[in-house]
Amino acid sequence: MPRVSAATVFDEMGWPDDVRTPYALIDAWLRDTPPDQLALKRREAEVLFRRIGITFAVYTEGGDAERLIPFDLIPRVLAQAEWRNLRRGLEQRARALNAFLHDVYHDREIIRAGRIPERLVLHNSQFRPEMCGLDLPGQMYAHICGIDMVRTGPDDYYVLEDNCRTPSGVSYMLENREVMLRLFPDLFRRNTVAPVAHYPDELLATLRSLAPPNCPGEPTIVLLTPGIHNSAYYEHAFLADEMGIDLVEGADLVVSKDVCYQRTTAGLQRVDVIYRRVDDDYLDPLVFRPDSMLGVPGLHFANRAGNLTLTNAVGTGIADDKAVYIHVPEMVRFYLGEEPLLKNVPTHDCSRPDELAYVLDHLDELVVKAVHGSGGYGMLVGPHASRDELAAFRQQLVQRPHDYIAQPTLSLSTVPTFVDDGIAPRHVDLRPFVLCGADQVRVVPGGLTRVALKEGSLVVNSSQGGGTKDTWILED
């Protein structure tokens, strides 16, 4: 298997010989703890995760339908200074994305100013004409964003993609920390790790701030899940539980005269805010897919009538589309009048003939992604692809260039990770979560670190054998 050459890879710990400051105590811990004790702790961690029931269903695999995502004990550590820059950049980016969403569903100034091609927005399947002209609380659309970051050097961060629909993974950020605290209380006593456990409170405050215009008083908030068979069901239950709100399925809700109610043992009770983890397409069979059994007929009309807030709003997919991604730095300049703090990965828009020609010439060096794909499916990693895979992708690119973008193969940073024969560097990414309420933008210091467990692999998605790590932001 081709490997990314070690010389070009940035190891965030500097393991084993050149340890960077934020990892000093991790290094001491790894040196001082006998291997058999660490092995014991790894088994304990697995038992804890099974017990909690924090599982992830993978659709394409047979067998164990409730699979654990592998958890690695060695934390990923960021110094406060490193985080501070990231955090400002994340807030900025989330504001710009929301301003863009408000704009495309209202006056489309950015298109009229010629900064984003009209075709890209209006002919995009993620654009929802149903949302046009609707004013939302605080003009916010993507209330919960998971922004995927990668790192290539001490000061080089790139945004890989913006997840503005129903990003998941935050339960792992929280449970990974819980498990680490239980297994290694001493380690936390010696370090000053910023806590993340208040995330559910921040989320609830965000949801409260988004009460619809016609909400009679304190809003009733529920979490809408597709149900027990959804791969992220555990997370839905976990978040509802942590926030103390009801976890509902489509059949628990009913819309009457543009007001949404939940069916309770005491009759119908009004619902004002729905944190929905059901995709747009399935949300309301009267407006979107008519065959959806997961949604609630009339939900969209309750939303339009100002009686209900849906978080995230319908139609946010237009902001995290991989072709629209190219223009996010421009959004920051256009809406906020600021220079973007976070870099985009330089991206080739295959719909442009000159760029397509370049991509076809350099296919074995590039990562090619389907514009509408997610979860690491429909993706080509050029340097790791076989001759046949390259040929197949080349054909698809020529046939449907609009459906693809291409990026250079970044040499993602690594963090030491437990593997079968000891400790070895493995590539990681980072998904911090940004909460955009009508009142303020909130970011909890942390995120989900995903790690590609296969040697040399750059694909961190849990559906493709990725694992997770606890992510530490050190306080000064």
């Binding site: 099974r50 539980d241 976890l247 628990d252 069916r263 005491a266």
Partner: protein, 313 residues
């Protein structure tokens, strides 16, 4: 609370209770067939199938009654919705669907049971493992009910859970007592004889009432007194009267904003409770124990339906 949540809690408790009951049936059948001196050991296994309410699915699969088939059917058979393994599975599925309504310790109790279950997969083929398994089921179910008591807020969710538990128990007790009607004695002259004695003793063992019986009746096992203990004595937690005392208590505690809608369920529960409390066992036996128990089973089933209707399940 969400109607769906109430429904899932109700069935969660029912399936946990049923797992315990089926384990008790198997334990006693095993014990009694071992101590029986006469040749007809088969009847113990037949009783277990009948008392579990599983005659129809059993005979759809097996032509005859024998120890191995019955144990397999009641313990692990996936085709039997009331096998212990299926009960635990269904309970866990209900628990998972309403995780947010469960306390952490409740989830641990259900999830822990479900996780350990595969460890006993070979129990039908291994007598020692089977004993461990049945004992384990009972401990697990006790743990579950215990953590419910000790961790849940006394609100509707708790009341629905307990209603489910005692409705299931009432149904089980009625079926257990009715077994005597289905498993005939070889000859009429055997009434009051050794076989008859052992059959009544087995019933007491299933509900763990031997000591209670001794304390309350201080004598030899008499059929009328066994029936009285299991039907009318509300001091005994596995009597029909006790179950209905609990059902009426918890049903009344559920908050209702529309009394008319839940009136039928309450009427069903309270009238049956009155019948059980003031029942005369002599008169029941005179009019037919089987007829009486059939009536209890039917009214219990109707009550389950009325609760679903009244509370929007």
């Amino acid at each position: 609370m969400l109607a769906r949540t109430a429904e899932s809690l109700f069935w969660l408790a029912r399936y946990m209770e049923r797992a315990d009951y089926v384990a008790r049936l198997l334990q006693v059948a095993g014990h009694m067939s071992a101590v029986r001196v006469d040749s007809d050991r088969r009847s113990e296994w037949e009783s277990a199938i009948i008392a579990s309410g599983g005659s129809v699915p059993y005979f759809a699969k097996h032509a005859t009654i024998d120890e191995v088939s019955v144990i397999d059917f009641l313990a692990f058979d996936r085709d039997n919705p009331s096998s212990i393994a299926n009960c635990i599975d269904t309970a866990r599925r209900n628990a998972r669907a309403v995780r947010t309504a469960l306390t952490t310790t409740m989830w641990d109790a259900v999830q822990g049971a479900w996780q350990e279950l595969p460890r006993f997969r070979d129990a039908p083929k291994n007598a020692d493992l089977l004993n461990d398994f049945l004992e384990w089921v009972r401990v697990r179910v006790d743990l579950f009910h215990g953590v419910c008591s000790n961790s849940m807020l006394r609100r509707d969710s708790f009341y629905f859970l307990r209603t489910g538990q005692f409705l299931e128990r009432a149904d089980n007790i009625a079926r257990l007592l009715d077994v005597k009607y289905h498993v005939r004695l070889p000859q009429v002259s055997d009434v009051g004889g050794v076989i008859d004695y052992y059959q009544w003793l087995a019933i007491l063992r299933v509900v763990g009432a031997r000591r209670a019986y001794r304390v309350l009746y201080k004598g030899r096992v008499e059929p009328a007194q066994v029936a009285e203990l299991l039907i009318t004595r509300s001091v005994f937690p596995r009597s029909l009267a006790f179950c209905y005392q609990q059902i009426t208590h918890h049903l009344d505690a559920i908050e209702d904003q529309d009394p008319a809608r839940v009136a039928e369920a309450k009427r069903c529960a309270h009238s049956l409770y009155a019948d059980l409390r003031y029942a005369s066992v002599d008169r029941i036996i005179e009019n037919g124990l089987h007829e009486f128990l059939t009536d209890v089973i039917e009214r219990t089933e109707a009550l389950g339906t009325q609760i679903a209707v009244g509370h929007l399940f």
